[in-house]
């Protein structure tokens, strides 16, 4: 084929394109979709929406992630905060890049809980770095460090698996400070050859930390637990107690039905409603109000904090339903029950805070669990007694 014919052919093909029949065919098939990521697609795999592109390195293709969260990230975060599927909210462990990572960039270590991962990447806008995600089974850095999944062993394994020595020219990795509970800097150095630099607690301090020659100031090194940080944890606190609460409600229903006629369904329903209110007030007080108002409630013992808040809630409830409740013994029964629930759930919140020591919790439990149990027994006794 000579040049001239080729040119003719070209002209004729472009000519075909403007024919009306061809137009119809194109429109019925839709315009050709532009997918710049198409070359990375693999059968059976789905590209993650937070991956922006891939870059070639001496250790193979590495996904570069977006520093900006998208709508679906925020929606999922909302569900997870409500406790829905929170143990399945993960990203694949391994090495990622952000910005324009090169051989001199820092390596930041994190957990594979997607909420943690998102929290980190949104703070790394305009920063070029590598992100090494450890397999923490979808748990945040601190809890995973305590559980032993964010560990020296896992960190060493991931450094080796990702051939980090081929990715960067230096031998430093930045580990979040709260990971120190599970990581020994010395062991990482001897087993993987990388020097651990402990970064700040909060991802939002990373840009300042990097600018400051990888030095964290005192504020960056101390945990906080402010009003918002406490509030955001409460939906999960409430969600966790829903199932046991339903079970408790069933028991309350049965206990409420015991009376002169051995058991009566109508009585169970009539009296049960009040005990459900007392239960709900206890949950609201112990799993929501006490955690949110934590430092403003007197006492350092969480169980006692729960008793104080619970007493206020129980009193309010009893005032509201006083005209409908008959029998003197019912008031102390409902009061004791509601306050006990509040105290127990408040004590439970010790496991969620970043400042309670296991030894302290043990001391508190030894003191208050017998009190809570006794109160529960007295309250049930009074409740059954008042039916006769």
């Amino acid at each position: 084929m000579d040049k001239k014919t080729q040119q003719n052919l070209k002209i004729s093909t472009s000519g075909i394109n403007i024919m009306s029949s061809m137009d119809e065919i194109t429109s019925s098939c839709g315009p050709e979709p532009s997918n710049p990521m198409a070359e990375y697609e693999k059968p059976g795999f789905k590209l993650c929406s937070y991956v922006d592109r891939f870059i070639k390195t001496d250790a193979g293709l590495i996904p570069v992630i977006k520093p900006k969260l998208e709508k679906n990230d925020l929606f999922s975060a909302f569900y997870v905060r409500c406790g829905i599927n929170r143990y399945k909210y993960t990203v694949a462990p391994g090495l990622y890049g952000i910005g324009e990572p090169d051989k001199n960039c820092e390596v930041i270590v994190t957990a594979n809980f997607k909420l943690t991962f998102d929290h980190l990447r949104k703070e790394l806008n305009n920063i070029n770095a590598w992100i090494l995600v450890l397999d923490t089974k979808g748990i945040n850095v601190w809890c995973a460090a305590g559980k032993g999944t964010f560990s020296t062993r896992e960190l060493v394994k991931k450094i080796k698996d990702s051939s980090l020595e081929k990715i960067v020219d230096h031998k430093r990795i930045i580990v979040p400070q709260l990971g120190a509970t599970g990581v020994s800097a010395r062991d990482v150095k001897s087993k993987a050859g990388f020097r651990v630099v402990y970064g700040p607690i909060r991802a939002s301090d990373i840009p300042a930390f990097l600018k400051n020659n990888k030095k964290a100031d005192k504020k960056m090194r101390q945990v906080t637990f402010n009003l918002y940080e406490r509030f955001i944890l409460t939906p999960v606190e409430v969600q966790i107690v829903l199932k046991p609460a339903l079970f408790t409600a069933l028991i309350l229903f049965i206990i409420s039905g015991i009376g002169p006629g051995i058991f009566s369904f109508s009585q169970a329903w009539e009296r049960g409603v009040f005990s459900f209110f007392a239960l709900a007030a206890g949950i609201l007080s112990g799993a929501f109000i006490t955690p949110v108002l934590l430092p403003f409630i007197p006492s350092r013992e969480f169980a006692l904090k729960g008793i104080i808040t619970g007493s206020i809630f129980a009193t309010l409830l009893l005032v509201l339903i006083s005209s409908a409740v008959n029998g003197v013994a019912e008031f102390p029964a409902l009061f004791l029950f509601s306050v006990t629930i509040s105290s127990y759930l408040a004590m439970n919140f010790t496991g969620t805070t970043p400042f309670t020591s296991p030894s302290g919790v043990e001391k508190e439990m030894k003191r208050y669990i017998p009190v809570q149990l006794a109160s529960l027994v007295i309250s049930s006794g009074l409740w059954i007694y008042s039916a006769f």
């Binding site: 400070q177 709260l178 005192k218 090194r221 020591s357 296991p358 030894s359 302290g360 001391k363």
Partner: protein, 72 residues
């Protein structure tokens, strides 16, 4: 964080200052500001802030620190 305190005199934290080699890593990893360096040795300046997380123990190169909470 100074306003959020838990029970006093319960922590099992022990620092053996003789063993301390002055690397200051404990002051770096402690999220509660329990330690401070004085004359190249670690000192406990806020014992009751300790929550026994074990970060200092894990990273102390000379086994100068220990915590031994029960099952908690």
């Amino acid at each position: 964080m100074k306003d959020l305190r838990y029970l006093d005199d319960v922590s099992t934290l022990v620092l053996n200052e003789e063993k301390c080699i002055g690397c200051s890593l404990c002051t770096e990893v402690c999220p509660r500001g329990v330690f401070e360096m004085r004359q190249n040795k670690a000192h406990i300046i806020d014992f009751n802030a300790c929550m026994e997380c074990g970060a200092c123990v894990n990273n102390c190169p000379s086994q100068a620190i220990s915590v031994s909470p029960g099952v908690g």
